[in-house]
């Protein structure tokens, strides 16, 4: 792999790692949702700095150009991260639906109680 490509991959993944850690530190990203975003730059960092490992992986994957293998691995992690997010969004939307349904029923019960109360007061 060309030195320039190696430097870009190492600094790029280091930059992403710092951003993710900073988001977790500021509590803008929860630890459980940061896992994929941490594993991905660490994997790219290791492969970009350990050339023999990258070359072995590249030939195992049947790819002739090492940076393509690096790109493919990064892309795979990104897809997994998006899938993980879709699962979280689905869970949140189900929880949100249950809450909205409960709020509707509780609001009706509250209004009924208030009406009874008003009736007793007058």
């Amino acid at each position: 792999m060309l030195l320039r490509a190696k430097v870009i991959a190492i600094f790029g993944s280091l930059g992403l790692l710092v951003i993710v850690l900073e988001l977790v530190r500021k509590r803008r990203l929860k630890e459980e949702y940061s896992i994929f975003w941490l594993v991905m730059p660490i994997a790219i960092l290791v492969l970009a700095s350990w050339e023999n490992l990258l070359n072995t992986l590249t030939s195992l994957m049947g790819i002739s150009y090492p940076p393509s293998a690096l790109f493919l691995i990064g892309f795979g992690f990104t897809l997994l991260a998006f899938l993980h997010l879709s699962v979280i969004v689905s869970e949140l939307s189900t929880e949100n639906k249950h809450l909205a349904q409960q709020v509707a029923i509780l609001r009706w019960r509250l209004e009924r109680l208030e009406n009874v109360d008003r009736g007793n007061g007058s």
Binding site: A100, Q101, A104, I105, W108
Partner: protein
């Protein structure tokens, strides 16, 4: 009708100010002993005010919950308030309330756990749009095969169910309710389903929320939920 049974009729609405009073009036006339709950998905017109003036219960749910989310709310409400029978009528006036006592009585008499009013069980002269007719035919064939019984009107929301089914959808079944998937879930859980022929009207007034693009989306969603549903473990019922 047995007065010992607590009956709830739910009416789902979205912008139905032109129809809602007449629909509620029809239900009150034909099932005078039943309570009525209007489940409104954030109508931008006077649907909610009109329903309140009619003296029925009104639950307001966010529009994005859709029809399925609204129906689930009705099931949860019926379960929490201890109703024995839950019937559903659409807010657009397509379901003729005259047929409601027949549906409810069939459930009370134990003819089935779920009784569905079908436009196609007998020739009633109902004419659906082409896209809707294709969807209904497709799901009718699929559901009949999956539930081992003839289902002629899989998208009919004109239904009455008993207490066990109320409990199943309100508590036991952690699913996203849809007419099509509900039939498969009910069959898998061992509930009996019966279709009664009913005459349905064209919507009284106002605009239908049924659009071609959305129809394809629902058809795709329905097919996917049926396919994935076959791969899932059957839902359990407690009673």
């Amino acid at each position: 009708m047995d007065v010992g049974n607590k009956v709830l009729v739910m009416i789902l609405t979205y912008n139905e100010e032109e129809n809602i009073s007449r629909v509620i009036g029809g239900v009150k006339k034909h099932v005078p002993l039943a309570d009525i709950v209007v489940i409104d998905g954030e109508s931008r017109d006077s649907t909610v005010e009109q329903a309140r003036q009619c003296g029925v219960f009104v639950l307001e749910v966010p529009h994005r919950l859709g029809i399925g989310g609204g129906v689930e709310t009705g099931y949860k409400f019926a379960e929490e308030m201890g109703y024995d029978i839950l019937a559903r009528v659409d807010g657009d006036g397509q379901h003729n309330p005259e047929a409601l006592p027949k549906l409810i009585k069939s459930v009370i008499d134990g003819r089935a756990d779920v009784v569905i009013g079908s436009r196609y069980a007998q020739a009633t002269g109902y004419r659906a749009s082409l896209s809707r007719a294709v969807g209904i035919k497709l799901f009718s064939l699929l559901l009949s095969a999956l539930s081992h019984q003839k289902i002629t009107d899989p998208t009919s929301g004109f239904q009455a169910v008993n207490r066990d089914v109320i409990r199943f959808f309100a508590v036991d079944c952690h699913c996203n309710w849809s007419e099509v998937e509900a039939i498969v879930l009910l069959h898998q859980a061992g509930f009996s389903i019966h279709e009664l022929p009913v005459i349905m009207n064209e919507r009284l007034r106002g605009e239908s929320s049924f659009k071609l693009g959305r129809a394809f989306f629902y058809m795709f969603k329905g097919l996917l939920s049926l396919f994935v549903g076959c791969l899932r473990e059957s839902p359990r019922r407690r009673c």
